[in-house]
Amino acid sequence: MKNLYKYILFSLTVFFVSCEETIDIDTITSEPKVVIDGVLTNNSELNFIKLSYTRGFYSLDPNPAITDAVVTVTDDADNEVVYLHNPNNDPSKKGYYYPQTPYAGNIWTTYRLKVTVDGVDYTASETMLPVTEIDSLTVIIDEEEMEDPDEEGEFYEVLFYAKEPQDRVDHYLFKFYKNGLTLRDFEGDIYFADDDFLGESISGVPTAGYYKLGQYAKVEMYSITREAFIYYNDLSNLLNNDGGMFTPPPANPRTNLSNGAFGYFQVSAVDIMEIEIKDPN
C-alpha cells in the first residue's frame, strides 16, 4: 500500500513541475545521541551490531563510531553472548561489534540486546519469527527499458515468486543485490510489506533495478516483527518526507530501543536466493 502513496507523491511532483534549490537553514545541533544498528538472523554471516553517534546536519564526517561500548545479547534461556568491538581490527569495521564466535539465531527465540555507552544502558528485545520461502526468481526483458536503457544492455528485470501463508500474520523486509552490491531504485527506498492485503499467490513481482546478462541478482527476504515493520515504515516516511506539505510532518521512527537511542535491533529469519542473469528466451 505504501507504494501507492509514493505513486501519488511522485505524480504530485510531476504535476507541479516544481523548481527547487538548495538553501541554508540555521539548524540547532542537538546533543549527540547513540545510534544502534543491530541485526541478528538465523544466518551467522549477516549478524552484527554497529554503534555510532548522531552528528550535526551540516557535518561532513560520517557518524562518529562508538568503540568502547559493552554489548551483550541474551536469549530467553539466559545464554549471554558478549560482542567485541571489531575483533579482526578491520579498519572499515570501526564501530562494528561481533561475537567472539559467529552464531546463528533460532526462530521463536527472543533476544535481548544490551548496549552500555558511558554508563548508560540501551536495551531492546525482539523475537525471531519464521520467514516465508522464496519459491523462485525469474528473468524477463523489460521492453520499455530495452528501448532506452541507462546502461548498454541493462534491461533485464528479476521477478519474484512466493506463497504467502494466509493463516498467520507476516511482515517482510527485502534487500536486493546486484553482484553483491545493494540495489535500490531510489536512495530512500525501503522494500518492506505487511500481508494485510496480500493474497496467497505472490507471482512475478518485479524486484528493484535492471541487470545485464551475466550479472548476479540476489534477494534476501527477512521476517520482521510488527514493531520492525513500524520502524521501517516510519523510517521510509522520514526519508521520503516533503516537509509536511502533503506528507505528515517528519518525526523520528518509533523503535524497540530504550533510552532515546536511534536505530533498531532487528531479529529476523532470512531466506536468500541468488541467480545469474541469463537470456529468458
Partner: protein, 784 residues
C-alpha cells in the same frame, strides 16, 4: 436550554401581540436587467430612519403602523430607488433595481452609499464582488474566488497553488464550503491550482469568520456560502471564455419570461489536448458543470433546482491514474406562509469520491473511496417588526462514509479484495436566532443551535487493550451495531451572540461570541488536504471538535462612505481538535482509531481592513497579526507547537482601476511570514546507507517569507453597435517580479545537478521547493 426557549417564546409572543394592528410591506428585490434576486439590499423607511435587509433569497418584509412612507431600496452597484407608498393594508411590492453604470473618469458617487459595513450587526464577514474578482490578476488567467478569499483579513493560505484556506487559527478542514447550500468536501481542481467555483455562475459569496449566525453549523472556523445565479428571466444571454488552461461557456435565459429561467455553465481544462497532440502519455483534465432552473410559481412559492458536478482525471501513461470529484444537488422551495413568515425548505445531496488505479498484471488494483450526505432543511424567517426578526429551523443530515475499497485488477494480482468498514451518521440540528433592535444605537442578535450527532450502525467498534497503542493494537472485543442503531450520540449546545452599538452615524462597535461544533473530521496529517484524504464522523473514539470564539471590532466609514475601515480582534479556543500521533499511518489503516490524538488549540489575532468599493479605483488592504498553537497529547511529546498554518504577519492588497471604457487594470500583492516547518537538529546514517535526520521540535523553524505581486489588464474593445456580442481580453502577469516563494522544504544527501551524490555521501543539504516563476497568461471572453 428550556429557560432560553421559554424566554424567546415570551419575547416572540409579545412581539406578535404588539404587531397585531400593524400592516406589512413585503416583496422581492431583483436586478432589473435579468431578474436575479438581490441579497442584502437595504430597505429603508425614511420616516422612521429604520429598515430591513433582504434575506438570502432576496425577500424582505417590514411591519409598520399604517401611514404614508418613503421607502428607499439601495444596494451597492445599483441605482437607489425611492418609493412613496400609502400603507393602509398589507402590500406586496417587488422592486427591480437598475444597475448603476459607472461613469468612468468621473469619480462621483451617485445615490446613497449603503453603510452596511457600519450598521449591519454582522461582523467578521466578507462579501466578494464577483465582478471585481474577474478583473483581478489570476493564475493562468482563471478567476478564482478562493484565491481572493485567501487574501482576506483573518484568512491565511498555505502558500500558492492550493485551494485550502485557514481562518482565524482553524485548519483547512474546519471551513464549511457551500454551493447553493450543499457542502463541497474538496474544493480543488488540479490539486488546488484552481477551485471548483466557476466564476461565471457565481452570484454571491460570503465568508463568515466569526459571529456566525445560528443557521450555520457543522464546522469550527468558517462558513463560505456561495450562491449561484438563477439565470436571466428576461432574455437569452451567453458568455464564453477562452483561457490558456481552460475554457468555459455559460448560457442562460427565460423558460417563461419573468416567471422561470435556467442557467447552464460548463468549464473544461484542455491541457490534455495539447499533451495528446504532443504524444505525451500523461493526461490531466478537469471539468465543472453547473445547471440551475428556477420557477416563480407566484409571489408565495418559488422553486429552484441546482446541480453541480466536477471532476479531475489524471493518468500517467497506461500504468497509473486517479480521479476525484464532487457532485451536489439542491432542491429549494421558498414559501411565504404570510407576509411576515418566509420559509425555505431544501433537499440537499452531496457526494465526494476518489479513485486510484494501477494497471499492472501482478500489482494492479483499483481503489475507491467515497462519501455521501443527504439533508433536509427547513428554515424560517419571521419579520415581526423593523425591530425584531426571528430565524429558526431544523436540519437533518444522513451521512455515509466509505473510506476505502481495494479491487484487484486481475486474478493474477498479489492483492486480495478488501474493504474498510463503512461509517454512518445522523446529524440533527435545531436553531433559533433573534435579531433585536433595542434602540436606534444598539442591536443584538442572540440565539443558539442544538446539535445532536449520532454515529450509527451498521458497524463494528473494536475495543482495544490500549486504545492509543498504534504500534501493536490489540483488540479485546468487538461491539456490533445493526443498521441505524446508535453507536454514540453527542449533544452540543452552541450559543451564538452578537451586538452592534452605533457610536455615531459613521462608526460602530461590534462584539460577538460563538460556539461551533464539528462532527466530521478530515483524516489527514499533512498541512494541505489532498483529494485522497478521507473523512470520518464523530464516533466511539473520535469526539466532536468544539470552538469558542469572541471577537470585538470597530467599524468606520470614511469620506462619505467611500472607504470602509474595520479593525477586529479575536480570541478562539478549540477543544478536541483532531490531530494524529507522530508517525501516524492514516492511509488505509484498519486500526485507524489508535492514531487519533485530539487536543487543544488556541488562536488569537488582530485584523485591519480598509476597503474602497466605489469609484474608478476599488480594492482593499488587509493586515492580519495572528498566532495559533496546538497542544496535543501524543504529538510533539505533548509540547505546545505552532500550527502548520500559523502566520505571524500577513499583508494583502488588491486593487482594480477602471482607466477608461477600454482599459481597466488590476493588481494584487501578498506578503506573509514564512510557514512554520520542522527541520532536523542532526543527522545519522543507518542500515544500508540510509541517511536519516534527527527531529526534535515540530514546526520550530520558519520558511523564508512569502511575497508576490500579480498584475492584470482588461481590454474591452469598443463594441460595434451592430454586433450582438461584446468581447474582452484579460492579460495577467502572475508573480511579476518572479520571486521564488517557498512551498516546502526537505532534506537529502547532497547531489549535483544530475542527481549524483557528491563525494562520500556524508554531506546533506536542505532543498526548498518553489512553484511558479513569473507566469503571463491571456484570456479571451465573449459575451453574447
Amino acid at each position: 436550554m428550556r429557560k432560553f426557549l421559554l424566554t424567546t417564546c415570551v419575547v416572540l409572543c409579545t412581539v406578535l401581540a404588539s404587531a397585531q394592528e400593524k400592516v406589512t410591506l413585503n416583496g422581492y428585490v431583483r436586478d432589473a436587467s435579468n431578474g436575479e434576486e438581490l441579497l442584502g439590499v437595504t430597505v429603508l423607511i425614511v420616516e422612521i430612519a429604520n429598515g430591513v435587509v433582504s434575506n438570502n433569497y432576496g425577500f424582505y418584509s417590514i411591519t409598520l403602523a399604517p401611514g404614508n412612507y418613503t421607502v428607499k431600496y439601495s444596494f451597492i452597484g445599483y441605482k437607489t430607488i425611492e418609493k412613496k407608498i400609502t400603507l393602509d393594508k398589507d402590500i406586496e411590492l417587488n422592486i427591480a433595481l437598475p444597475e448603476e453604470l459607472t461613469e468612468l473618469e468621473e469619480v462621483v458617487v451617485t445615490g446613497e452609499s449603503p453603510i452596511a459595513n457600519v450598521s449591519s450587526i454582522q461582523m467578521s464577514r466578507n462579501d466578494l464582488d464577483i465582478k471585481q474578482v474577474k478583473k483581478l490578476p489570476a493564475l493562468f488567467g482563471e478567476p478564482d474566488i478562493i484565491k481572493t478569499i485567501q487574501m482576506l483579513p483573518g484568512v491565511i493560505s498555505a502558500g500558492e497553488g492550493t485551494s485550502s484556506f485557514f481562518v482565524r487559527g482553524g485548519s483547512a478542514d474546519q471551513n464549511l464550503i457551500l454551493i447553493d447550500e450543499a457542502p463541497v468536501y474538496d474544493p480543488s481542481h488540479l490539486f488546488g491550482l484552481f477551485s471548483v467555483f466557476n466564476a461565471d455562475i457565481i452570484k454571491d459569496s460570503e465568508l463568515y469568520k466569526g459571529g456566525i449566525p445560528s443557521r450555520f453549523g457543522g464546522r469550527l472556523s468558517s462558513i463560505l456560502d456561495v450562491r449561484t445565479r438563477d439565470g436571466n428571466n428576461k432574455e437569452f444571454e451567453g458568455e464564453a471564455g477562452i483561457g490558456l488552461l481552460a475554457s468555459s461557456i455559460s448560457v442562460e435565459g427565460p423558460i417563461k419570461k419573468d416567471e422561470s429561467s435556467y442557467i447552464f455553465s460548463a468549464r473544461r481544462s484542455y491541457v490534455d489536448l495539447f499533451l495528446r497532440a504532443a504524444n505525451n502519455d500523461n493526461l490531466v483534465y478537469f471539468y465543472d458543470v453547473n445547471a440551475k432552473v428556477n420557477w416563480r410559481a407566484n409571489n408565495k412559492n418559488r422553486f429552484f433546482l441546482s446541480v453541480y458536478s466536477g471532476r479531475d482525471d489524471f493518468s500517467f501513461g497506461e500504468d497509473f491514474g486517479f480521479d476525484w470529484g464532487n457532485k451536489t444537488a439542491t432542491f429549494r422551495w421558498n414559501h411565504l406562509f404570510s407576509d411576515k413568515l418566509f420559509s425555505n425548505t431544501s433537499l440537499i445531496a452531496s457526494s465526494f469520491d476518489y479513485g486510484l488505479g494501477i494497471e499492472d498484471p501482478v500489482q494492479g488494483i483499483r481503489w475507491d473511496s467515497n462519501l455521501q450526505e443527504y439533508s433536509f432543511k427547513n428554515d424560517f424567517n419571521y419579520f415581526a417588526s423593523p425591530q425584531f426578526e426571528l430565524d429558526f429551523g431544523y436540519h437533518v443530515t444522513y451521512k455515509r462514509f466509505a473510506p476505502g475499497k481495494i479491487t484487484p485488477s486481475s486474478d493474477e494480482s498479489i492483492f486480495k479484495a478488501t474493504e474498510l468498514q463503512h461509517e454512518y451518521a445522523l446529524d440533527h440540528a435545531f436553531y433559533l436566532g433573534a435579531q433585536h433592535e433595542l434602540s436606534s444605537k444598539l442591536t443584538m442578535n442572540y440565539g443558539a443551535r442544538l446539535s445532536a450527532f449520532q454515529s450509527i450502525g451498521k458497524g463494528d467498534v473494536y475495543l482495544y487493550e490500549n486504545p492509543k497503542d498504534n504500534i501493536d493494537p490489540t483488540r479485546t472485543d468487538t461491539l456490533s451495531f445493526k443498521s441505524f442503531e446508535p453507536i454514540k450520540t453527542y449533544f452540543n449546545f452552541e450559543p451564538r451572540f452578537s451586538m452592534r452599538y452605533m457610536l455615531n452615524e459613521s462608526s460602530s462597535m461590534k462584539m460577538s461570541y460563538n460556539r461551533m461544533v464539528q462532527n466530521t473530521h478530515l483524516i489527514s496529517s499533512g498541512t494541505v488536504p489532498l483529494p485522497f484524504n478521507t473523512w470520518a464522523p464523530s464516533s466511539y473514539y473520535l469526539k466532536p471538535q468544539i470552538a469558542d470564539q469572541v471577537a470585538l471590532g470597530y467599524f468606520k466609514n470614511l469620506n462619505d462612505n467611500m472607504y470602509e475601515f474595520s479593525v477586529e480582534a479575536y480570541y478562539k479556543t478549540m477543544d478536541n481538535v483532531t490531530d494524529f500521533a507522530d508517525n501516524a499511518q492514516v492511509f488505509f489503516n484498519t486500526d485507524l482509531s489508535t492514531e487519533y490524538r485530539q487536543g487543544d488549540a488556541e488562536a488569537y489575532g488582530m485584523e485591519f481592513f480598509l476597503q474602497k468599493k466605489e469609484g474608478a479605483l476599488t480594492g482593499f488592504i488587509a493586515y492580519t497579526l495572528s498566532k495559533t498553537e496546538r497542544t496535543i497529547d501524543g504529538v510533539n511529546l505533548g509540547n505546545t507547537f505552532l500550527a502548520n498554518y500559523d502566520r505571524r504577519h500577513s499583508l494583502n492588497m488588491l486593487a482594480t482601476y477602471d482607466y477608461s471604457d477600454k482599459w481597466s487594470f488590476g493588481a494584487g500583492f501578498t506578503y506573509g511570514t514564512g510557514r512554520p516547518t520542522t527541520i532536523p537538529s542532526g543527522t545519522y546514517e543507518w542500515g544500508d546507507g540510509y541517511s536519516a535526520d534527527v527531529i526534535t521540535e515540530r514546526n520550530g523553524y520558519n520558511l523564508p517569507a512569502f511575497h508576490r505581486l500579480d498584475l492584470s489588464a482588461t481590454l474591452t474593445p469598443k463594441s460595434n453597435a451592430n454586433k450582438k456580442w461584446k468581447t474582452s481580453w484579460v492579460f495577467s502577469l502572475y508573480n511579476a517580479y518572479s520571486r521564488k516563494n517557498p512551498f516546502s522544504l526537505y532534506t537529502r544527501v547532497k547531489q549535483d545537478k544530475d542527481g549524483n551524490i557528491i563525494g562520500d555521501g556524508n554531506e546533506k543539504e536542505a532543498r526548498m521547493i518553489y512553484l511558479f516563476p513569473i507566469l503571463p497568461s491571456v484570456t479571451y471572453n465573449i459575451k453574447f
